[in-house]
Amino acid sequence: MFDVYKIRKDFPVLMQNINGKPNIYLDSAASAQKPDCVIDKMCRVYKTTYANVHRGVYALADEITAEYEDARQTVQKFINAASAKEIVFTRNATESINLVAATWALDNLHGNDEILLSEAEHHANLIPWQIVAQKTGCTLKIFKIGDDGSYLPEEFTKNLNERTKLVAITGMSNVLGTIFPVKDITTAAHQVGAKVLIDACQLAVHQPIDVQDIDCDFLAFSGHKTYGPTGIGVLYGKFAILQNLPPYQTGGDMVEKVTYQKTTYAEPPARFEAGTPAIVEAIGLGEALKYMLNLGWKNITSHERELIRYTLQKTAEIKGFTHIGTAQNKGGVFAFRVGNIHPQDLAYVLGKEGVAVRIGHHCAEPLVNRMGYTSLARASLGFYNTKEDIDAFVAAVKKALAFF
C-alpha cells in the first residue's frame, strides 16, 4: 500500500518548516529531496567501509568495491540494461551527454551528417551538439513541437533522413512535461541508420525505463533527480558501441597497460571512469533507486497520475492561470503563467508562503522563447507530494493574485 504521508516522513527536508510554514516543495524537476536511507547509507559508508575502489586487496577495499559495483547493478536493473558493463558512472546527465559528444560524435560525424533534436531540449542536450556541429561541420536540425507542447510525429519524420546520424531527444520535457514516444522515435531512427541518445533526466523519475525494449543506443540521467545524491549521473550505452569508443578523460583506473610511451585502455565501463570516481555518491544512488523500486512503479505512477489530475483541476479554478504545455501525454511538470504577473514577482510571494517553484528559462531558453515567453514559472511533482501541497500552492497563487 502506497501511503504518501508515511513516505514523506522518510524525507527530512520535507518535514521542515519554511518561514514558519510547511515546506511545499514543488521543484523536484530541478532536484529531488533525498530519503533517510540514502543519507544514512552514505554516512555509514564514510564511517565504516570507506576506502578507494578497484585498487586495494585489503578488506575495506574489497567491501567498498563490492558496494560500488552493486550500485552499478542496481542501475542496470533500474533501466533493464543487458549488462552492468553498459552502465558508466558520470557526474550527472550533462557529463553523460558531453561524454557521448566528445567521443562517439567527434569520431563518427562528418560534414554531410545531421544531428536531429526536438525544440524541447534542455541546454545539456543542445549545446554539446552545437559544439559537435562546429567541430565536425555536420548540421544541427531541430524538429518542431506543437504550440501545446505535444510531440508531432510528422515533424520528426519529415526531418529524419539517411543523412541523420544521431537523434538526441528528451524522454520528458523539463519545462512542458511532454512525454516523447522514445521507442517509436528510436525504431524510426534506426531504420535510417541513425543512433539514438535519450535524455532521461525527467523520464527516469516518473516512468519505468527499459533500454532493451526502447533499443536506444545511449541514455543519460542524473542521480540527484532520482532522489539520490548530487555529483553522480549515469550514462547507459550499448556495449558494442561503448567498446569502440575512445576514452573521454584519461588517468587512473581506466587503463589496461601503461608504458611511458603508450597505453592500452580498459574495457567499458572502466575506460570512461578515469580517476577516483564519486564512490559514495554512486552507492547513494544505488540506494535511492532501490528505494524507488521498493515503492514500485505502479504505485508511483498511479499516485502521480492522480496528483496531475488534481493539479489540473485545482489550477483551473485560478483566474488567469495558464498552463504552458498541455500535451495529452504529460508528466508532473507544470510550466505556467498567472495573468500578467511576472514569474519572478509570483515567486517572491510563493517563497514567503513556503512554496518552492522554479522560474526563468529552466535551462531551455530557446524552448521558452518558442512558447512565446522570456520567463515561466514551473511547479513540478515528486512521488512525495500530496494534494495538500497542491492546495497550499493554489492558495499561495491566489494570495499573489491579490498583490498584483
Binding site: H342, P343, Q344, D345, A347, Y348, V349, K352, I359, G360, T374, S375, F403, F404
Partner: protein, 135 residues
Amino acid sequence: MENIEDLIENFSMLEDWEDKYQYLIELGEKLPPLEEKYKTDAWKVSGCQSQVWLIPEYKDGLLSFKGDSDAIMVKGIISIVLAIYGNKSAQEIKKIEVEKIFAKLGLGEHLSPSRRNGMMSMVDKIRFYAQNLEK
C-alpha cells in the same frame, strides 16, 4: 527619484512582509518607465531572473542611473537601488555598502552577494560603470 532616508523610514514602519512587498510594488509602479529604445540587449543586466535594463547618466562629475524591468517588484527594487546610487561620484559609489542598506530596509534577502538571484548583478554593473569612470 526617491530619497533613500525616506525609504528607510517608510520601510521601518512596515512590520510584515506583505506590507513591505505591497510598498515595493507601489515603488515599482511609480518608477518612470524606460523609453523602449533603451530596452535592448546592450543595456540589459545579465544574470537577473527577469529582464533588467540599466542606463548610466553622467553630469557634472556625478553618476545617476535609469532602470526598468518587466517584473514589478524588481522595478521596486530598482527604484531603491537608483535612490541609493543617484547623483554620486565614482568615489562615493565605491564606498556605499548597499547590502547593509537593504538589510536595514528589511529586504536583505533580495540583495546579497551570496545569492545568485540577479539583483546583485545590477549593483555590480553600477560599480563597473563607476570604476571605468575613474579610469
